[in-house]
Structure formats: C-alpha cells, structure tokens
Amino acid sequence: MSSTTVIELANDITNAFAEITRIGPSMLPLRQAGLDRFKRSGFPTTNEEDWRFTSLKPFTEIPFEIMTDSGEQLLDQAILDEIAFSQHDTDNLVFIDGHFSDQLSQISDQPEGVTVSNLASAFDIIDNKIGLLSGKDENPLIALNDAFFTDGAWIHIPANHSLSKPVHLVFLSTAKKDGQASHSRNLIIAESNAKGTIIESHISLGHAAASTNVVTESQLEDGSNLEHIKLQDQSPQSIHLASLHSNLGKEARYAFHSFALGAQLSRNNLRMNLAKPGIDCMLNGLYMTRGSQLADHHMIVNHAAPHCDSHEYFNGILYDQSRGVFHGRILVQPEAQKTDAKQTNKNLILSEEATVNTKPQLEIYADDVKCTHGATIGELDKDAIFYLRARGLDTKAAQQMLMHGFTGEIVDRIQHNAIREELNELVWSRLENEHNLN
C-alpha cells in the first residue's frame, strides 16, 4: 500500500525530506541544496514577473503529500492499453506517482550501447549529470524537484546511434487523494549524430487534486536530432508543473511539441540554450482549455551562437472561463549573428469569459539577425467562414474545419507519421466531443 508523508510546507518539510533521502543516497547533496534553496525562496507569487499571470494558489492551497512510495504498484496492464500511443510499437517506461513500474514497463532490444532505463537504477553512474542544465535556474519548482524527485527516465544515445523505436515515457498519477505530490526527473543525453523520438505522456487515473512536478534535462550534442512529443492530459483537477532544460550542440536539431489538454493548472517552463552554430530548434505547442483550466507556456530561447534558427509556434483554443498564458522570450546574444528566430502565438477565444495573456518578447544584442514575432487573439475568421460557406459547407462544418486547421497547424509539425496521426485524431475528437461548437 502507499505510504505518504503529510507535511505542512516550510514547517514539516524536513520529515518528508528524511523519507526521500532514502532514495539514492548519492543524490543527497543535490537534494539538500534544493531544499535549502526552496526554503529561502518559497513558492513564487504573482508579484514576480515570471509568474505574473499564473498563480500557484491551486497548488499551495492543497495539502502537500510527497509520494515517498508508489501509490499503486499492482496496476492492470489494461490501463496502459487505453492511453494514447499504446497501440504503437514503442518502448515504454512507466512511472506511477513518480515511481518506476518495472512490471508495466517494456524495453525491447535497443541497439548496443543505447540506454533506456529508469533514472534511479543509474544514480551511481549519472549523479554528477543531474542538475547540470537546470542548476542555474532560480525557479523554486526546480529546487523543490531537486529536493524531492523520486525517479524518472534516463535515456542515453551514444554517438552515431539511433533509438530503434520511439520511447514512450508514461507518467501516471493515481490521484486518489488531494495533495498527492509526485516529483519526476528525466535525463536525456543524445551524443553527436544520435537520433531518436521520445514521447512523454502525463495521465491521471483518479480525480483528486494531485500534483506533478517534473524536471527534464536534455543534452543534445553536435549533429544530434531529437523529436520530443509531450502530451499532458491529466484530469481537470490536477496540477501539472514542468521544466525542460536543453542544451544544444553544433547543428543539433530539436523539435519539442507540447500538447496541454488537461490539468486545472499547467505550467511548462522551457529553457533552450543554443550554444553552438547551426542549430535548428523548434518549440511547437497547442493548448485547449475549458472550465477554469489555465495553461501556461513560459519559454526562453537563448541564442548564444551564430547561424541558429529557432521557431516557436503556439496555438490556443479557450472555452468557458479558462485562461491561456504564453510567455516567449527570444534572447539573441551579441555573438549570435545570422540568427533566424520566429515566434507566433495565436489564440481562439470561444467564450465570453475566457482570458488570454500573451507576452511574445524579443531581446536582441546582435545586428545581423532576422527576428519576428506575432500574436493574435480573436474569434474564428469571418472571411474564412464565408469563403467556406460559399463553397457549400454549412456554418458548423466551416467552423469545425477552421478549428481543425487551427490545431492542424501545430499537429502537422510532428515529423513522426504515426504519432502525428494519433495526435490529430485525439485533438480532433476532443474538439468534437468535449467542446460545444456553437
């Protein structure tokens, strides 16, 4: 059975911490430093610029029960069959409340030298690599994760190797009780010219107000090529907090796709460091919110070397009283000449009460650059609806087609065919079934 430690943050945090340090003693210095940092900072508030539009109140007002043990180990395999991508030929690493499930995971023969495993099994090998990329970030949620993470994925693709099939990281939250707090940690290293596709799914099994705080560090060395698809489809009661820290080497290609469909509150911090020339980095995302959901994508793309391209495309569809937040900052350092950076954020507001806050920002210190950003907020385009009706489609079909197009813009950027198709269907069925098209 599950054993959880109930703590009052700040007061009783040490109890949970004592429990957690049993996991991977070599992690202790990192955990201790994280705990100290978090004790100093506490949770961020809306007075801070980076959290101006996103209040963590829904998170701080529920209990905080660190999942020091897996909430449930005896899950039926059938549960896995129902989740997205389960019908594809993938390797699966399954985590339940932040704990690895050996029973549900399935790793085939990846090429010699490729590692696909859980992080805790490799603590001794990789301890000095954890926190390398996220360490400088002052985000208190990273400090919290440093202190309390339990497990996560460890993927290592050596030079000139490729993953033989996509790796699917499945994060299940049992969400039986309000306040269950899972902390997962992923480390991905793609050495030079390595290739692979990684899918990351976050799913709730229950409907309690549980939280997930996941930190992922990905190091892409020269010439590597990674596609990373993240589907966050947790229950509308849950809290999803995520940070991705990536460091990209020469001519590396990284495509990160974020689909934020679930959770009461979701926040994705994306921090991309374009360290060497010739990089192509794409951040591509779709958020669809209803009820009182809030979906926040907060990214900083740091162009630190010349001749790099970065593209950010985020589309949002908002219903009811939901809120969409976009913060995109492209930072072009003085040495990053010939940067080509593009940032767009488009929002469809489909209810009287939905809100969008968007901050597409450019900070540029080099002169020979091409940087653009654009943001739009509005209803469906009336001219386009008329155009479609003039071709014989009725109003509803025209609206549906435009919404499909709006989501399709994002979905179509997924390179992996089968995954793209599945996400297309998933997104579309959400639009058709769960949302009222007026």
Partner: protein
C-alpha cells in the same frame, strides 16, 4: 438562369447598388465592367450571400427561385460559384480535405453519390493537370503561402470541381501574367456549356480576349448604365469610361 430585378444594397448607411437589372440565360457569358467603386464586387458578394450587406429592395432569381433568403452555402449548393477577388488564406486546413468536403456537400445536395478519396483524387489530379497546377498543391493549406496567380488558379480548380450552374468571376484576371491568364480562361471556357452561365467581372478588356462575352454591361455608381455586345468592351478599352459617365 439568373434574373436580377431592381436590386438595391447598402453597407451600413451607404447605398452601393442602386437598382440593378440583369438577365442571364443558359449558355451565356456576361461581362460586367466599370470603374473602381462602381459596385462590381458588391454585386458579386451580394449574389454569393456575404454578410454585412443590407438588401433594401429587389429580387434575385436563380432558375426561377428567389435566392436572397438563402444562406451562402445553400446558394453554393444550388450552383452559385463565386471566384473571389481575394481568395482567403486558411492556414492549417489541407487543400484536399477542404475541396473534397465542398465537392461532396454539393454532390449530396444534387442527389449525386459522394466521391470517395480515391475517385476524388483521380478527378482532382486530372483537373489540376489542365490548370497546370502541381500536385504538391493538394498537400498545402488552402491558399496559405500561395502566390497571387496560384490563388486564382486554385479558384478555377474549385470551380471546375464544383461544376456550378452560375459562375461569378470577381476580377479573376487581376494580378495574373499572360500565361496564367490563358490558363484561367481555358479553365473557364472548358466548363462552359448550354446548361450553365458565367458572369465575368473585370476591369480590363484583355481577359475578354480569352473569355468571349455574349454581353457586356457597364456598371457605374450602382447601376448598369450601358449594355452591349463584345464590341462595347473594345470601345471602353479605347475611350475609357468618361464618355459613358457623362451621358449617364
């Protein structure tokens, strides 16, 4: 085919069409010419049922049925096709998907069998060849990132696929080079038969060298001030509109 009687329309408080009378029979091609702001595009939009216009008077009959009360899609299914002056870009919506949905809506309305993906593709590819459109076109979103000429050819492709009884071409020639103009005109001429009709709205006579009209009408200040045969277009090309406007 089409009977327009004393059609008056306004946008907000401004009267644009001040009593249009026009009768188009099966198998005919009518050209409507006129200076900027005379109401040509408004007429096209009103025929297709665009919102924002207030029809204050008059009637429009298509094969004897008043169409003014019909929605844009009902008119489209009844066979009214508007080739837009500025075809709308629809990012994210795949051209094939869009066109097949439209074609099948219209076919369903006519009681014809809907086309499956295979047959549709076969048909559309054949038509595209005629219009010298690359197949790659079908994979792209509707009009997004198309050049001006590509957009216009895409309109003609849609027209060809939808096979309308009344095609209204709103300045389809604008922005086209001579080769594209020929391709577009060929497309229009190819669908012409004794059971349909075309209204060609244009600024310039040159399109009418390729699409030869049976009648030419001059629209000015919301009224047709002169009608004639194709020689009228040549007179206009030579003398401009002033001589007509002075007499109007």
């Amino acid at each position: 085919m089409l009977e327009i009687k004393n059609l008056k329309a306004r946008i907000e408080e401004k009267e644009i069409l001040k009593g249009i009378n026009l009768s188009v029979n099966n198998g005919e091609v009518h050209a409507i010419m006129g200076p900027n702001g005379s109401g040509k595009s408004t007429l096209a939009s009103v025929l297709a049922g665009r919102e924002g216009y207030d029809i204050t008077d008059g009637e429009v009959f298509l094969r004897g049925n008043d169409i003014l009360e019909l929605s844009p899609e009902e008119r489209a299914r009844e066979g009214v096709f508007l080739a837009f002056q500025y075809p709308v870009e629809i990012p994210g919506v795949n051209s094939t998907y869009f066109l097949r949905s439209a074609v099948n809506q219209v076919r369903k309305h006519r009681g014809e069998e809907e086309l499956d993906a295979m047959n549709f593709l076969k048909l559309v590819k054949a038509k595209m060849k005629e219009l010298e459109l690359a197949e790659e076109f079908l994979k792209r979103p509707v009009n997004a990132g198309f050049s001006g000429g590509e957009k216009k050819r895409n309109e003609i492709l849609q027209m060809t696929m939808l096979n309308p009884s009344l095609a209204v071409l709103d300045e389809t020639d604008s922005g086209l080079d001579i080769d594209a103009l020929r391709i577009v005109a060929d497309g229009v001429n190819r669908i012409k038969n004794q059971n349909n009709a075309q209204i060609v709205i244009t600024h310039y006579q040159r399109l009418l060298d390729y699409i030869v009209p049976d009648f030419v009408h001059v629209l000015y200040d919301g009224r047709i001030i002169k009608s004639g045969d194709k020689t009228l277009a040549h007179d206009l090309e030579e003398k401009g509109y002033d001589w007509l406007i002075k007499n109007a």
